[in-house]
């Protein structure tokens, strides 16, 4: 690869490492797997970088492009290492009684809300989990989410709606009609 091309790659794609890791982490639900997925995804991204037309000025494009690769890599990874990938990580610190005792009531409530949300998110099917992560955490537009997940905008819309309805219900709110 030309040095200038490598430089462009480093400018356009490397800055999205946090977003890449975050998505991989939520898809694999495991730190080790997420790290491996991200490294794999970056090597794939490097390979296909020639076909990527977004310039350095279009950071958003670079991010959506990279996240699409991360997503595909994560799914391939899970097919290959099925058993491990399905194990749900449990946050020991958050769930420990000893820690809970040291917290004032309001912090406890916050922890409870956080735990409930994490559990609910973990239990979503991955197609619904990924739209929540891409929308709420990464702030992608419907169009970008469609590009990353390879589905039409209408599907993005209905998946987001379904995902939120499930989270809402899982958080103990009354089930919504409709």
């Amino acid at each position: 690869m030309e040095p200038s091309e490598l430089e462009r790659f480093e400018a356009v794609v490397l800055p999205h490492l946090d977003a890449a890791y975050s998505l991989a982490r939520y898809l694999t639900r495991n730190d080790d797997d997420a790290q491996d997925v991200v490294q794999d995804a970056y090597l794939r991204a490097l390979k296909y970088f020639g076909g990527f037309r977004g310039g350095a000025s279009e950071r958003g494009d670079g991010r959506a492009w990279l996240l699409a690769i991360v997503r595909n890599t994560a799914y391939t990874w899970q097919r290959r290492h099925r058993g491990d990938a399905l194990a749900t990580e449990f946050d020991e610190e958050l769930h420990s009684d000893a820690v809970a005792e040291q917290h004032p009531a309001s912090a406890l409530e916050r922890d409870a809300a956080r735990q409930a949300l994490h559990r609910a998110l973990d239990r979503l099917p991955r197609e619904l989990r990924e739209v929540i992560v891409l929308r709420e955490l990464e702030g992608l537009s419907y169009k970008e989410i469609g590009d990353v997940t390879g589905v039409p905008i209408g599907t993005v819309m209905s998946r987001l709606s379904r995902a939120r309805r499930r989270l809402h219900e899982a958080l103990g709110a009354e089930p919504e009609g409709g």
């Binding site: 490598l6 991200v38 090597l43």
Partner: protein, 265 residues
């Protein structure tokens, strides 16, 4: 329209993805239908809860190094130690400052590198807020609507002022995540410009500022009162931004009452 269709539209509306004509129609419906209005509120609250409680993970430093090395190896580039290209140098500086943030947000107020990292995050928050549908979680020019909106969403209750009379109308507020914690973001307007004010409780009452930074054409002002850390960011001219900051500081000093706070220098 069926309830299911309305629900679909509601999500797109909350995300700022509904065409303006449909959005107006939906707004009319929300005024008439209490059930849908309740559902709308629940959706906004859910989004806020997700943003507050579900963190975006930060890549571990080891992974950063690993990816960089793997990419350089695969690209057949020499592992340049002596002369870093400017882009790589900037990337390393960024990685280093992010690592500092990871060490602990309590150090941010005191360390220069921490301040740089915070400025980066504040700027990112501002730029993100300018993308469609990201500016506000609560839209109101009424400070008495915006202030209570934050209740229960943050572990503090931010002061909210409206400076419409001085040419800086309040536009709304939202939750954001900066420096490793949930913060209040208040949005003000000035002609066609937008100003983001980010604030969170100060630690150990260390007063400082105001500091000024300019990045990518945006100006950032920040200061710390005994109660709060403030960051103000906008593409507005620096002089006008200083005027705005002064209004904010005066209002804040007046609101804090005697004995609890001094106006910052």
């Amino acid at each position: 329209m069926t309830h299911r269709e309305i629900e679909l539209q509601l999500d797109a509306y909350v995300d700022g993805e509904l065409a303006s004509e449909d959005a107006r129609e939906l707004e009319t419906h929300l005024k008439e239908c209490r059930e849908c209005a309740r559902r709308h509120e629940a959706r906004v609250a859910l989004s806020a809860a997700i943003r507050q409680h579900v963190p975006a993970f930060r890549a571990p430093d080891a992974l950063r190094r690993r990816v960089r090395t793997a990419v350089r190896d695969a690209a057949g580039a020499p592992p340049s130690r002596r002369v870093l290209p400017p882009v790589a140098a900037r990337w390393l500086a960024l990685a280093a400052s992010l690592a500092l943030v990871a060490v602990g947000s309590w150090r941010l107020g005191t360390s220069r590198a921490g301040e740089d990292a915070l400025a980066g995050q504040v700027l990112a928050s501002h730029v993100r807020s300018l993308m469609p549908g990201h500016l506000t979680d609560v839209i109101s020019s009424d400070q008495h609507t915006v202030k209570p909106w934050f209740n229960g969403k943050l572990d503090f209750s931010p002061q909210v002022y409206d400076f419409a009379g001085r040419g800086f109308p309040l536009i709304g507020g939202r939750l954001d995540y900066v420096g490793g914690r949930a913060v209040a973001a208040l949005v003000y307007g000035r002609r066609q410009h937008l100003i983001n004010v980010l604030l969170w409780p100060a630690t150990r009452g260390s007063v400082s500022g105001p500091g000024v930074a300019t990045r990518q054409g945006y100006h950032l002002l920040h200061w710390t009162t005994p109660d709060y850390v403030y960051w103000v960011v906008s593409d507005l001219g620096l002089a006008e931004l200083h005027d705005f900051a002064q209004l904010l500081q005066q209002a804040d000093a007046a609101a804090s009452g005697p004995g609890t706070a001094r106006p910052p220098p």
